[in-house]
């Protein structure tokens, strides 16, 4: 059974003195998938990745590759390779020598090395760059060479430590697509860590959201976005309006919440979250879930005054203040033309459904911590 998974962690814990960096993580990554670990800096994702690579040993728990424990196997003998955060291309060697490095260590003969290096360079789209110096490459090319250097060794798992972090925005967008395609073509299992939710959502088959050393939720990108299971995931993945309030009644389907500002909202009741009356909760509504001047029947309705129009192309939004209570929120402003006339100071009606409204017990008060 176990060998269906390329990589498995069982109750892995890593502590540094008193600090628990990785707290009881278990995961299983099926062969050929693109698995991302998403979390803010300091959440323990780098520590986890370095344990997979063998640069740190877990305090307890087990790590298995293709069903075999690799605890005690040094990094140079593990069938995983890593693309480092700053790539760690060897500046004292040219491109071909960088790519050939691992093969040489395995004692592969020269002819095979040359052939494999050329093949791999072609595969990452840089067929003639072998004699170039590392310093002659652009940011995106360096990226591809760093990946080629690992792929040439046919690793069971490729680990990537935020490799896009150093690139500028445009190139990063481009590389996201390219990486996903590359992974799709070669079929190697990728484990990718990042703090950028868009990278994780765009590229991955599965994403694990990590916070303070634990996995908050593991699932497909759509799952995380539409069905967050914890307050942290709801807040961290995608944009959200986030309010706090007190539970004040409701039924099996929905919860009524009184917000600090005095207004009230209705949120979906989730069987997994045990919300009770009088409990303090966080409420999340995505800006794009809020309809403007829509006559439809929404459980949550209010009128508000536009404070700011933030034009940003397709990602434009409005900052509004509820007329009655002074409650602030952000609303997506679709650029379909219908709302082109909205100006600062306009009064608008807003509405959104219960289904689109999530609530979770506040941090420090149960779930999610």
């Amino acid at each position: 059974m176990a060998d269906q998974f390329d990589l498995e962690c069982r109750n892995v814990v890593k502590t540094f003195d008193q600090f628990v960096a990785v707290n009881d993580i278990s995961l299983a990554i099926p062969k050929g998938s693109f698995f991302s670990i998403l979390g803010p800096s300091g959440c323990g994702k780098t520590t986890l990745l370095r344990m997979l690579a063998g640069f740190q040993a877990p305090t307890s728990g087990d790590i298995l590759i293709k069903g075999n424990s690799v605890l005690g196997v040094p990094p140079n003998r593990r069938p995983v390779n890593m693309v480092f955060q700053h790539l760690a291309l060897f500046p004292m060697m040219n491109v071909a020598e960088n790519v050939a490095y691992g093969l040489k260590r395995r004692g592969v003969d020269k002819a095979t090395i040359t052939k494999k290096v050329n093949e791999t360079l072609a595969r990452v789209g840089l067929p003639d760059s072998g004699p170039k110096q590392i310093s002659q490459l652009s940011g995106g090319q360096k990226q591809r060479i760093a990946i080629a250097r690992c792929l040439v060794l046919d690793p069971t798992v490729l680990l990537l430590d935020e490799p896009l972090g150093a690139l500028d925005l445009k190139l990063r967008e481009h590389m996201k697509v390219e990486l996903k395609q590359l992974q799709h073509e070669i079929g190697t299992t990728f484990v990718y860590i990042t703090h950028d939710q868009s990278e994780a959502l765009v590229m991955s088959d599965q994403v694990a959201v990590m916070n303070s050393g634990r996995f908050e939720q593991v699932g497909a990108p759509q799952d995380l976005y539409y069905n967050p299971q914890t307050s942290f995931v709801a807040g961290f993945v995608g944009e959200s309006n986030r309010w706090t309030g007190i539970v004040n009644g409701g039924n099996d389907q929905q919860v009524e919440i009184k917000l600090a500002s005095g207004s009230r909202v209705f949120a979906k009741r989730d069987a997994n979250n045990h919300i009770t009356d009088g409990q303090s909760v966080d409420v999340f509504v995505r800006p794009e879930a809020i309809e403007i001047n829509d006559a439809g029947s929404f459980e949550n309705k209010l009128s508000a005054k536009v404070e700011n129009v933030l034009f940003n192309g397709a990602a434009s939004s409005l900052q509004v203040r509820e007329s009655l209570t002074g409650h602030e929120m952000t609303v997506a402003l679709p650029q379909t033309g219908a709302f082109a006339s909205v100006r600062e100071g306009d009064e608008i009606n807003l509405g959104w459904s219960v289904e689109q409204t999530r609530c979770f017990a506040s941090n420090g008060n149960g779930a999610g911590v």
Partner: protein, 292 residues
């Protein structure tokens, strides 16, 4: 407008000249002209009091007198040997300070490396004399543990000179090595391991190539200082130390033969420059990178 600009640039020129004056005086009066004069003096022969003629006799004498020639070669060879030895001993220490030890211990260890060298070379050499001499600490230690039957004289031989030279040079090797190894990103070493390398191949393929500028500058400075050393060979090597600087001293101060002494000095300068130059070429460095 153009007039005021001209005035301004004229004032600027004058300021620049004033700023450059100390530099020019220093370099011309104390570095360039003295060495030209040294060359001129080495190329003349004293005929009688106050009368000189152009002559190559001083150089001919050097090449025909085996003592001078041998001392010259011996000094060069010993200096190269001392440089290599300093590198071999100092490299692991520098690596340990730069890459292995972390936090406060690192600074402490580095400072411990530096402090002995703030102490005068004379004091350091004096320390080695106390350690190595017949009635010294090591000799007594050896007798005490029963390895030696009687007093052992360890001073006044080549090994003693070597110990002292390596000791005196260590700082100039360790400092550039630590700084160059410090700049080696840990992830390069990790990447090497991740791709299947081991301690030996990574040292050979990644660490040493990266450290090359530091190795070059350390070796050049150490070699130069060793070649021009007088104190250590003289005190630890005694009468038979045969160091070339001693020949220069003898010619100048004891024999008062400045012409021959200048020729010797110039030959030492040429030797030093040539080997430094070859070192720079081999390691693809420039002088400004190395000492700057």
């Amino acid at each position: 407008m153009s007039n005021s600009a001209a005035v301004k640039s004229g004032g600027f020129r004058l300021g620049l000249l004033l700023l450059a004056l100390p530099l020019l005086l220093w370099l011309f009066l104390l570095v360039i002209l003295p060495h030209i004069d040294l060359l001129l003096v080495s190329l003349r022969e004293r005929i009688s009091y106050g009368k000189y003629e152009f002559s190559l006799i001083n150089y001919v004498e050097f090449f025909t007198e085996p003592l001078y020639w041998n001392t010259y070669v011996r000094t060069a060879v010993m200096s190269i040997f001392a440089t290599v030895l300093t590198l071999i001993i100092g490299f692991p220490v520098s690596y340990y300070i730069a890459k292995v030890i972390r936090g406060k211990g690192k600074n402490a260890l580095f400072l411990m490396c530096l402090i002995p060298f703030w102490v005068s070379e004379l004091v350091r050499t004096f320390g080695w004399m106390i350690l190595l001499r017949e009635s010294g600490v090591i000799s007594n230690l050896l007798q005490w543990i029963g390895v030696a039957d009687g007093p052992v004289e360890m001073l006044y031989n080549d090994a003693a000179i070597m110990v002292g030279l390596v000791y005196t040079s260590m700082l100039f090797m360790v400092v550039p090595l630590v700084s160059v190894l410090d700049s080696l990103d840990d992830s390069l070493i990790e990447a090497g391991y991740d791709l299947g390398g081991n301690a030996f191949t990574i040292t050979r393929d990644i660490v040493v190539p990266h450290a090359m500028p530091g190795i070059a500058s350390g070796c050049i400075v150490v070699f130069m200082l060793t070649l021009g050393n007088y104190l250590t060979p003289n005190l630890l090597g005694g009468k038979d130390s045969l160091w070339f600087t001693e020949q220069i001293y003898t010619q100048f101060i004891t024999r008062f033969n400045w012409e021959s002494g200048s020729a010797f000095g110039f030959l030492l300068l040429v030797l030093s420059s040539v080997i430094v130059w070859v070192g720079l070429k081999l390691s693809k460095q420039t002088l400004s990178q190395t000492v700057g």
